[in-house]
Each structure stands twice: as C-alpha cells, then as structure tokens.
C-alpha cells in the first residue's frame, strides 16, 4: 500500500475506507445488474479523474479479475435456474434469470475489487494506521505492532524462496501439500517469532510504552473535503440505485 500523488490520496484514510465500505454495502443490497454496472462505472470514473489512475494501470490491475468475471458469469448463467429459456445445448441452460444473476454477481465482484483498489492504491499504509489511531481510537500498542508486522511480509517471501530452492537441490519431492506446508511453515514461524521478540525489545528500549501518552509525527486530520467526498459519493450511488430501479 503506497500513496500516489492524486487528489484521492489527500483524503483522510479512515473516511475514504468507511465511505467505500458503505458503497460496497449498497452493492450488496442491489439485485439489478444495470445498477451494479453503473455503480462500478462510478468507481472507474473516480479512479481515472481523482485517483490518478491511467488506462494501462487500470487494465493491468483489472485483467486478472476480468478472467474471474467471465468465469463467474458463465457458471452462474449457464447452470442457473429460471423459467424463460433463452438458449439450451447439452448441459448448458441459459435463462433470462440466470443471465441476470450471473451478470449481477460478476459485476458485484468487479465493483468490490475496484472500490477496494481505490483505497489501497491511493493510501499510504502508515497514514492508514495512524488515521485509525486518531479517528478510531485504535490503541498505539496495536497500531505500531501492526506496522512492525507488515515489515515481515517481504522478508517471509525471500525466506520462502530460499527454502524452496534448498529443498529442490536436496531432491525433496512434494508428495503431500499439507505436509510440505508444515515443512516450510515451521522454520518460517520460528524465525518470525525470534525476530518479533527482538523487534519488541528494540521498540521498548527506545522508550515505547504502548500507551496514548506520546506525540505523533503523522496526524491525519478530518477536513471539509472528506465530508464532501463521502456525502457526494453516497448521494450519487443512492441516486443511481433509486433512479434505475424505476
């Protein structure tokens, strides 16, 4: 999670997150594929105008999900139930209802992904966590612990890669995926635990207490534009839902 220099990245992370979660709730309540499509297009427009997205970036990010989209759509559409048959061949049985359902579910998935991407592609991880501290009263003990934990992810990746090569050289054959998971996980966990213990000591040695009695370098604020963004987006989405329903 990194911030880009877009307008969206200047918003308060918590507000951005909550707003988008609310839009996702609306998406869940909607059953008409036309409305779902419209709400998804709103997300694309926001991304391209306020989120600093470019078309190539968008395509690269959404391409894997487009494959999902086709798969979900086909599964729902071709094997669904319904009265008004449109096309039938062998096992495949496409009806008006199943077509609707397939489109709706697939578009809903795309909508979720795009609204989520709007948050993750424009928010700095540290700012997000600090915003949770200030706006949601998250305890610093958890906040700084989480941040320290995020540093482990790339470390785990390189360690896992090395373990896999080591096993390859030794001629280890993966017979049972559960067994090989245990084999890889155990050394990773032991190293992880040892490392986190060391980090905890280093943090305490630098005077970290975990209480709220501290000052802050980053203090994400709530400003007027957060309210405007939240309000406007929700109004637009609800309007679409209501207008297209009629």
């Amino acid at each position: 999670m990194k911030s880009n220099d877009s307008w969206l990245s200047t918003l308060n992370p918590t507000i951005k997150l909550v707003t988008h979660l609310l839009v996702m709730c609306v998406l869940m309540a909607v059953t008409d594929p036309r409305i779902t499509l419209a709400i998804w297009i709103v997300a694309l427009v926001i991304g391209l105008t306020l989120g600093g997205w470019r078309i190539p970036y968008l395509l690269k990010r959404l391409l894997p999900y487009t494959i999902f989209f086709v798969m979900i759509f086909w599964m729902m559409a071709a094997f669904g139930k319904g009265e008004h048959t449109l096309w039938q061949w062998g096992w495949f049985h496409i009806t008006e209802e199943s077509l609707n359902n397939g489109l709706m579910i697939a578009l809903r998935m795309l909508g979720f992904v795009t609204y989520g991407l709007l948050v993750t592609s424009t928010t700095d991880l540290t700012a997000m966590i600090m915003s949770l501290v200030h706006q949601c009263r998250l305890s610093p003990k958890w906040a700084y612990g989480l941040l320290a934990g995020f540093r482990f992810i790339p470390l785990f990746q390189t360690e896992l890669a090395q373990m896999k090569s080591a096993h390859k050289i030794r001629g280890y054959k993966q017979k049972n995926s559960w067994k090989s998971f245990i084999r890889y996980a155990l050394p990773l966990f032991t190293q992880g635990i040892r490392k986190s213990e060391r980090i905890a000591i280093a943090m305490e040695a630098r005077g970290f207490t975990g209480t709220r009695q501290r000052t802050y370098y980053l203090t994400p604020q709530l400003t007027g534009k957060d309210g405007w963004y939240c309000g406007l987006l929700l109004v637009v989405v609800l309007c679409i839902a209501v207008v297209l329903k009629i």
Binding site: Y144, A148, S165, G207
Partner: protein
Amino acid sequence: MESLLECKDLSVRFYNREANVLNGIDLSISRGEKVLILGPSGSGKSTLLSVLSGIIPEHVEAEVEGEIRLAPQCGVMFQDPDSQFCMLHVDEEIAFSLENRLIPRAQMDAMIEAVMKQVGLDIDGHTPIETLSGGMKQRLALACLLALEPEVLFFDEPTAQLDPVSRKEIFQLLHELADQHGQTMVFVEHTLDGCIQWMDRVILMNAQGSMIAQGEPAEMIQRYRAEMQEAGIWQPKLFPYTWDDVQDHPSHPLAQRLQQTLQQRRASALDADQEGKGGSAVIVTEQLDIGYRQKSVMRDMNIRIPSGEWVAIVGANGSGKSTFLKSLIRLERIRSGQLYFQDILLKKWSDRDLYEQAGFVFQNPELQFVTDTVFDEIAFGGRQRNWSEEEVHARTVKLLQEFGLESYQDQHPFTLSLGQKRRLSVATMLLFDQSLLLLDEPTFGQDARTSAELIKRLQQRQAQGTTIVMVTHDMDLVDEYANRVIVFDQGKVIYNGAPYHLFTHPESIGHHAIIAPLHYQLMKPEKERSII
C-alpha cells in the same frame, strides 16, 4: 572522573536455566569512556550489556542480584539491522524515537534532519527502509538512538552483519561521534579492527560469565592473546602497532611478518602462472546474461572455471554475485547465452544428476535444513535416492566425523551453535562427493574460530579435487585460499585472474570497494620510494 554506570557483585540468571549467566561482576563506567566487552559466545557479554542498558530486568525477565546504578537515558544498537525497526520509512522511524519522548510535532522536522546529517544519511526522508543497504540501515539505527539524546550508547555487535567496507565506515562514524561529543559508549564486538584503537578500556569475560580482567587495550591484547584466540575473537591485524611505525621501520616485527607473507604470495603466484591453464573446466559460460524477471544483472559473461580451483567472487552488494552463483545450478534462470556444466549444456542436465554433481551452501543455514536430526539431514539425499541403509549409514558417519558433528547426530539442526549449523549445511551438500561446491558468504557473521574450522574442511575437500566457488567480502580469505578471483562491477566482470595480481595492481580495475590485505599495502610506498 564521575561514574555514570555502576554495578557491584552483579549476578544474573534466566528463569529457564539453572546456572547463572553472569557471576559477581564489579564494574564502573565513567562519563565519556569507551568500553569494549570481549568474551567467547555464551559468556554473557550481551546479557551484561542488557543489564547496563536496563533492558534486563525491565523488558526481559531474569533474576538479577547485586547493586546496579543505571544512566537515566540510553540507547542500544543491535546486531541485526532488520529487527530493530518498526516503521516503513526513514523519517517515520526516527520520529518514532521522538514520539516516545513526547517531543512536540513542530520540533520534529528539524531534529530528524539534524540526526540524519550527524550519521551521514544523505537521502530523502521518505525513503522506504527496506531499500537501504545493511550499512545504511545501521546508520539509520544510530540516528534513531541519537534522537533519544542518550547519555550512554550501547552496541551489541553492531557490525557483525556488515561487509568489511561498511564495517569500516560505521566504525569511523562512531569514532567521530565519540570524539566530537564525548559520548559514553559500551561495545560488545568480536571484530577488533576498526574499534580497538580508540577504546579506553577492554573488559574480558570467560565462558562462565565472570570477568577475567580489564585494562588498556594495548596491554590487554598482548597479555590475553591466547584467551582471545580461544574465544574466537578476530585478532586485529595492526593494533597495538600503528601503520606509520610499520611502514617506516622495515625491522619492525610486524613489518617483517608482512614482508614474509608477501614473499610467499609472490612465489605461489609465480608458480601458478607457470603451471598455465591446462585441465578441464567445470563451468564455461558464453555471452551469459543473468538477472531476475525483466532486469538483467550481469551481461555478456565469458567465464571459464577450471576444475579443482578455489574461485572467489567479489563485488559490491547487489552486484549480482549471489544471482550468478544460483544461475550456475539453475536456481535462477539464465536470460540468454550458454552455460556449460562439465562440458554439457546446463539445461540438458536432469535435476537428479545435476544436484549429485553440485552442492549449494546458502547464506542462512537454517533455511536449508529439511529434517529433524543432524544424522537424517546428511542422510536425506541418499534416502531420497533409495540407497541401501548400510551405504547411507557409512557415508553419513564419514561426513559427521569429517565435520566434527558425530556427537550431535541426534540433535535437531536448529539447536546447534552457529558454527555447527554452518558446518552441517556444508556437510549435507557433500553426500554425493559433489565435484562442485558453491558457497554464498560462508564465513559471514561467524567468529574467527568457527570460520577457520570451516575453511580447513574446505581446503581438505579441495585437495581431494572438489572445485569451490564462493561469494565473499573477506579479502584476506580471497588472498590466502583462492586460486582465482572474479570481480563483478556494474553488470560486468572487471577482473578474472589470480588474487595476487589484483591486489598488487588494484588501480587496474579502479575499484575502490576492495581493500587489499595489509601486506599488499606495504608494497605501495616501496614502489614510490624506488621511483624517487
């Protein structure tokens, strides 16, 4: 002088152990003093540091007896650069120290800038920490400590994970800091070069956690040489002598010793030159291009590694040494060009045959262990290939003996000491009497004794005909053992030949990251003098 830290009759015991880690330590450290604590591993030197810095018993539980007086504000720097940070960016990390001290936000920017300047961290404040090199990370760690405005700075092997060039820089930085601000510093180290000459006092501990002696560095080095060797401490190459002395007086004992070494190297280099380049090659590359994903790291490599040689690969961090080593046995993909292993194209080898011919020793041994006991660890490859149990047993026992691990054969590999783990990781790669052994920084972070033991085993293997290719930063190792050294720099091979010629003509590659061993440095003024 005013005493800042003090302990009287200090004993420490961890709750999960029966014996004391520290026994009856009396110590007093005054303001502005630089103290170095030495001792074998397990002598409790890190524990002593933790007690003096207040980590024990406040953050780590232990039974502590005796009188202790601590400094009100102190900072501790640890050995692993990666496990002392909790934030993602440089400025946030330094700010973390300030936040803990309740410094108002308005003052933070100036203070962050000041400490970054002080430690020579000349980068943008919003740089992600993960992109920094080990040396830069330790600079950042120091900046974070200085932001605490500590009265005493503690260092727990701060350079153990660094290459020699970064180590030298960090020590230089600490030395300047000590001089300018009269900072009190307490060190635990096992490398003496770079720090011993500016210490005020050396404290020597024994394996039982008692203090043997303390005194002036020069006196301690001379009087307790044997104890220090036993403890695996890297002996200083120069100290207690100074370079000017050695350089100006050819009769100086150290100067004579260095001259002698130099003569030996010259003689063996001449021998090697005369022998010529006969024999078969284990590895031949033609226009090889390696790297990961879209990025190529090394281009257009034409290298020939004759069998039976000991080859060292050197170069700055990130110059592609490890990638090259991995490419040699297909752990990393080749981007273009040809690579022949024993005269057959690498891609034509089956995994099974290839790894019977070549072994790879990783930098971190723990990540390469695959079984639960030392014995099974070595026997693994044989059992995978359905050898008879007698043959597995015979070969394994032989290797256990060769690497001095027979009394640990039923232990879990993780419970071994650092040096034993390293030896085990090499032994596991020799079950098939592999003709090629690749090692990624095998002596990295090891003390003098364990690395000497490892080198001895490798030498025996080379004498039996094994080709050894290793990545290293240690130029003394290169000089003493390697037949060939290959220097990587900015995507190219800039030197491939005998170490002697590299060290005697370092200017030929214009590479400043290579510090030639001491005896070669003696040569330079000699030449200049003869010109005059």
